[in-house]
């Protein structure tokens, strides 16, 4: 029985390595093929974050008139809606 088990192990380990290696290659190929899309997306994301940061800095100046609070509330509401 233990010999049978060793057979199973050779069979299993060998093929699992083949499978996982192929998967590793497939992911790398996919990443290379899709690199342009990924880069564009990343740049857009960064631009957006910078714009958001800029927007965030400006209203911080005029705290007195309640705009910050309204912004906080709106952001909370937006987050909440986005989450559902």
């Amino acid at each position: 029985m233990i010999t049978e088990g060793l057979k199973l192990i050779v069979l299993g380990m060998g093929t699992v390595f083949v499978f996982l290696t192929l998967l590793l290659l497939a992911i790398k190929v996919m990443a290379r093929l899709l690199a342009p899309f990924t880069t564009t997306e990343m740049l857009e994301l960064e631009a957006e974050q910078q714009a958001a940061a800029a927007r965030r800095q400006q209203p911080a100046a005029d705290t007195g008139d309640g705009r910050t609070l309204i912004a906080v509330i709106s952001a909370a509401v937006a987050t909440h809606r986005a989450r559902r």
Binding site: G5, I9, L23, I27, M30
Partner: protein, 386 residues
């Protein structure tokens, strides 16, 4: 919101703090039901003594109950104490064995609630274990609800598939796509699995009372992968009689991961190595995330089609998560659907925790193997990662 399914709270709301009277109604009702119970043919095929059956028959046909003294005797015979005591004479697994299994059910509840070991599964499995071992109630016999849950959802493999869909919808493969070499860490799981398999065969060879078939050994091996739903799915196929022990072992060791892993890791790695792993990952694009489940599915179809049900449902869940056009469905899978299925999966696994199936030397072997294999798996994972 509370008062919708019973008069329970109505009464409390008005004036008298009656609390909930629901369960008192149940109790009253069941005393009424008692004399008719077995003749109703529900569940307790082998679970009710012949005498009560006779009462019921007379109640049914002649519309006439036995004298009051005899009725109280029957009533005594239908209590749990009497069942635990009298059945032990016939077979210890029906009497004292059930009592022990109920104790194990309470132990699982303790581990889940107090120790917070995988509570979602240990609480439901523990309760399922208790209910399955109630004498005379037939909950785990043909017609009983937990027997039905096991047959309909676990023996067929459907519940683990739905759980896999949910886990897929809850998993973010971003880190894996950013750092694909981690895929090869699968060997960690593999070493755990094959070590457990060998261990099971060794036990079977050298320990006199243990006799695992090749199938049993393969099912036990999966514990070494520390993945609950896979263990349940495959042991339902390979050796259903060990499912209870395997599921309990798999979930217990899953719960031990955060406890056992850090010291092993500390022993096998240097602080510098641990710091290196925290490097910033690259940004993973939406297209990559959408294609990833499809790539895995394609590889699976090409190389290993027999794994397609489980991997397919896993990747179906992940695709719904990442494609962003079916958020309704993805939300429901991540919440209602996986929760409902978890409840019934746990109860169904509990049905395999019966005294005759669980209180064996094999179970002890499985539990010991499991803990050893888990340590090996973790150690190999860490060594591979270096």
């Amino acid at each position: 919101m509370v008062n919708m399914f019973g008069p329970c709270e109505n009464i409390a709301d008005i004036d008298i703090p009656m609390g909930s009277n629901c369960f008192r109604v149940v109790i009253c009702a069941f005393f009424l039901w008692l004399p008719f119970h077995s003749a109703a043919g529900e569940g307790d095929a082998g679970g009710v003594t012949a005498q009560i059956s006779a009462v019921a028959e007379s109640a049914d046909h002649a519309e006439c109950l036995p004298p009051i003294g005899e009725l109280f005797k029957k009533l005594w015979e239908s209590t749990g104490i009497s069942a635990f005591v009298e059945r032990t004479g016939d077979s210890w697994t029906l009497g004292i064995g059930r009592l022990l299994m109920i104790g194990i059910g309470f132990l699982l509840l303790y581990l889940g609630i107090r120790r917070k070991f995988e509570p979602l599964l240990l609480v439901t499995i523990g309760f399922g274990c208790i209910l399955s071992n109630v004498p005379l109630a037939g909950i785990n016999e043909p017609g009983g609800v937990i027997y039905f849950i096991y047959q309909a959802g676990i023996a067929t493999g459907y519940f683990p598939l739905i759980i896999f869909m949910g886990v897929g919808a809850l998993t973010d493969f971003g880190p894996l796509i950013a750092n694909p070499k981690t895929v090869l860490l699968g060997a960690a799981a593999q070493f755990g699995i094959f070590a457990t398999l060998l261990g099971a065969l060794a036990l079977s060879r050298w320990v006199p009372c243990i006799d695992f078939s090749m199938r049993d050994a393969a099912a036990i091996g999966i514990i070494g992968g520390a993945d609950g739903p896979t263990a349940i799915f495959l042991s339902a196929k390979l050796s259903p009689h060990l499912l209870g022990a395997i599921a309990v072992a798999a979930y217990s060791y899953m719960a031990l991961v955060p406890i056992i892993q850090p010291p092993i890791m500390r022993a096998l790695t240097t602080p510098e190595e641990r710091r290196i792993r925290m490097v910033q990952l690259r940004h993973v694009g939406r297209a990559e995330k959408i294609l990833f489940p499809l790539v895995v599915l394609t590889l699976c179809i090409v190389l290993l089609p027999s794994a397609a049900p489980l991997i397919g449902f896993f990747m179906f869940g992940n695709l719904m998560r990442e494609c962003l056009v079916v958020e309704r469905l993805s939300d429901t899978i991540q919440n209602s659907l996986i929760n409902i299925t978890t409840i019934f999966l746990g109860l169904g696994v509990g049905s395999k925790l019966s005294a005759e199936g669980f209180l064996t030397i094999e179970t002890v072997g499985i539990l010991v193997l499991g803990i050893i294999a888990f340590c090996i798996g973790t150690a190999c994972g860490v060594l591979m990662a270096r």
